[in-house]
């Protein structure tokens, strides 16, 4: 693809400086997303997927956090360390975010309408009336019934699924070109999750919004995403288009992860499980981060850090010595 990506991250390193020293939560992460594309970032707790998204939004709490290195290019312009005033103009307007827990991200003291109108008027110079109309239209677009009445309701009066729809409406109200969704359906029941996923896919196709979907659930990714980035302990271990990743995973971690998902369609006598525990960020500093849990690991894996090697098919990259090209092999 020759198109210019709408958002591109190059060599991002975000660290937290604690009493025990520097903890790299995100370590040399590069990724991109095109207009109208849905990119999934998958990983387990502590893999750095949320820190990546907060870095894009310029929301890393500092101190202790800091973007140590790397560029985040939005429409070709670097937005790392932008002055807060400029960042504010982008945040919510060009790049918006939805969080996991809709209850804690809505202000309980203000009505839904109030919060939606604030979101518009922060970025656009429009009358209250126009903002009101736009808000109602947005609430209808995300499939909420009786939108006009809803404008006067408070968050506690809504159910979890409705709150998440309001969050999506709020994120989409300024028509951002990139939407980051951090575990948007984890707190919801399956039937509601399905409704929300369909809604996001619809918005993605209708409005051509690029969506970065951050989740731990490979089922959710398979349902809606076009491309996937798999993260482990702060690093990208594999990236591929959705069909390749599920059909032909290369990295032992991706393979293990896919194999350990309990399958709804059949009962297995013994579930596959990856031995060991998910490492704490920064606890492994040498060699491949996955080596201690990897069944295929050999000596080199513990000494050297593998790079992301390209695989046969397009845009498929994997960070594993098993798939290193000949010239890199010892």
């Amino acid at each position: 693809m020759d198109r210019e990506p709408i958002l591109e991250i190059k060599g991002l390193r975000t660290s937290f400086f604690t009493d025990d020293g520097e903890v790299p939560a995100v370590d040399d992460v590069s990724l991109y997303v095109h207009e109208g594309e849905m990119l999934g970032i998958v990983g387990e707790s502590g893999c750095g997927k949320s820190v990546t998204s907060l870095s894009i939004m310029g929301l890393i709490p500092s101190p202790p956090g800091k973007i140590v290195d790397g560029d985040i290019l939005y429409q070709g312009n670097n937005i790392v360390n932008l002055p807060e005033k400029k960042m504010r103009a982008i945040r919510g307007n060009d790049i918006a975010m939805i969080f996991q827990e809709p209850m804690t991200s809505l202000n309980p003291l203000f009505s839904i309408g109030n919060q939606l109108i604030e979101a518009i008027r922060t970025h656009q110079n429009v009358s209250k009336k126009a903002a009101w109309d736009k808000s109602v239209e947005m609430l209808k677009l995300v499939g909420l019934p009786r939108a006009e009445e809803l404008m006067d309701d408070y968050p506690h009066q809504l159910s979890g699924g409705m709150r998440q729809r309001v969050m999506i409406a709020m994120a989409m109200i300024c028509e951002p070109s990139v939407l980051i969704a951090d575990e948007p359906t984890t707190a919801l029941d399956v039937t509601i999750q399905k409704q929300i996923l369909q809604l996001m896919k619809e918005l993605n196709q209708k409005l051509n919004t690029a969506i970065i979907m951050i989740t731990h659930d490979l089922g959710v990714v398979a349902e809606v995403c076009d491309r996937v980035v798999v993260m482990y302990s702060g690093k990208i271990v594999e990236t591929a288009d959705i069909h390749t990743l599920y059909k032909d995973p290369k990295h032992p971690y991706t393979k293990g992860l896919l194999a350990s998902i309990p399958d709804l369609r059949k009962k297995s006598e013994k579930l596959y499980s990856i031995p060991g525990n998910v490492p704490k960020p920064g606890s492994i500093t040498e060699g491949c981060r996955f080596a201690p849990r990897c069944e295929m690991a050999f000596e080199r894996c513990f000494q050297e850090d593998p790079a992301l090697y390209p695989c046969s098919s397009d845009e498929h990259e994997v960070r594993c010595f098993l798939h290193a090209p000949e010239e890199v092999k010892p």
Partner: protein, 327 residues
């Protein structure tokens, strides 16, 4: 297989109070007239969305909550009528594994103390014997005896859940009620814990009531599965049957909503179950599911369907199948 637990017409209503005098103005029908049995040595899965009453059911069994009506029989004992003293004895045979491995272990106690406590409470063994049992149990769940001197915060989520399981096993219970035991864990750790639960069941001849919202997880561990909706059981049968040939429209909808980790089989049905679970303080008249049901008929809005055995061992509460039987 003999029956270990028999639940009959169990109800739990939580009162809603309001007004100046704090009078009762209504009920939240958390569990509304459910009946089922748990057989010795099996795993009965209980699935449902939030607010369906599955956790309340588990707590009623343990007498952590008092039932409003109905009976629970555990090995010929009527659980709802036991005295406080007898309840304590009952809990030796019935233990609970909690969802949140971070909140359910006392942060100020060492693992050794956490595991020894159930034995002290139930006055089992001498100090020496207790220590020995604790050392044995920690190895059974896949940890080492040097872990005993540590505190909960020094463990990962999966390890903590292992400690929670070890604690539940200390009194050698017959029935374990596991309330969302793996939902707080990472995928790669989830299967470790599920495998452990399976192995322990075989080793100690345990019976599980496995409560979860994740249908894929429930399939892996359960022999039979019950589906709950808004305080009622809508379907109960062998796991195999339930997943392959569900009868109740809600079970069908629930199964089709689970995202499949394979992009090639992108959701077979595009039908999404519309709407949301109604409030349990004001459940719909007739069948509680009729407001969201695709196959809703006139009768569904008026009469609540009975929970009946449609085929041997297959219980369903749905008017669709009652009609079939009449013709």
């Amino acid at each position: 297989m003999s029956t270990l637990v028999e639940v009959k017409n169990l109800k739990k209503y939580f009162p809603i109070t309001g007004g100046v005098l704090d009078r009762k103005i209504g009920d939240i029908k958390a569990v509304d007239n459910i009946s089922f049995t748990i057989r010795k040595g099996e795993t009965l899965g209980l699935v449902g969305e939030s607010g369906s009453g599955k956790s309340t059911t588990g707590r009623l069994l343990l007498r952590l909550l008092e039932a409003t009506d109905g009976s629970i029989t555990f090995e010929e004992k009527e659980v709802t009528k036991l005295s406080t003293k007898e309840v304590k004895a009952l809990r030796e045979d019935m233990q609970l594994i909690f969802q949140d491995p971070f909140a359910s272990l006392n942060p100020r106690h060492t693992v050794e103390k956490i595991l020894e406590e159930p034995l002290i409470v139930h006055k089992k063994g001498t100090k020496e014997e207790r220590k020995k049992m604790v050392r044995k149990m920690i190895e059974v769940v896949g940890l080492d005896s040097y872990h005993l001197k540590r505190y909960p915060h020094q463990f990962s989520g999966g390890q903590r859940q292992r400690i929670g399981i070890a604690r539940a096993l200390m009194t050698q219970p017959k029935l374990i009620i596991a309330d969302e035991p793996v939902s707080a864990l990472d995928v790669s750790i989830q299967s470790q814990v599920l495998n452990l639960l399976k192995d322990l069941q075989e080793e100690f001849k345990l019976t599980y009531l496995f409560i979860a919202h994740d249908l894929s997880v429930v399939r892996q561990i359960s022999d039979r599965v019950g589906v709950m909706y808004l305080g009622t059981l809508v379907e109960l049968t062998d796991a195999e049957k339930l997943y392959e040939k569900p009868l109740h429209p809600y079970t069908e909808a629930l199964l089709s909503a689970v995202p499949i980790p394979d992009p090639e089989v992108k959701s077979q049905s595009e039908d999404v179950l519309g709407g949301e679970i109604p409030s349990p303080s004001n459940p719909p008249k007739g069948c509680v599911f009729h407001t969201r049901c695709k196959a809703c008929m006139e009768i569904c809005k008026k009469v609540r369907p009975e929970f009946k055995e449609m085929e041997p061992g297959h219980y369903v509460a749905c008017h669709l199948y009652e009609e079939d039987m009449q013709h």
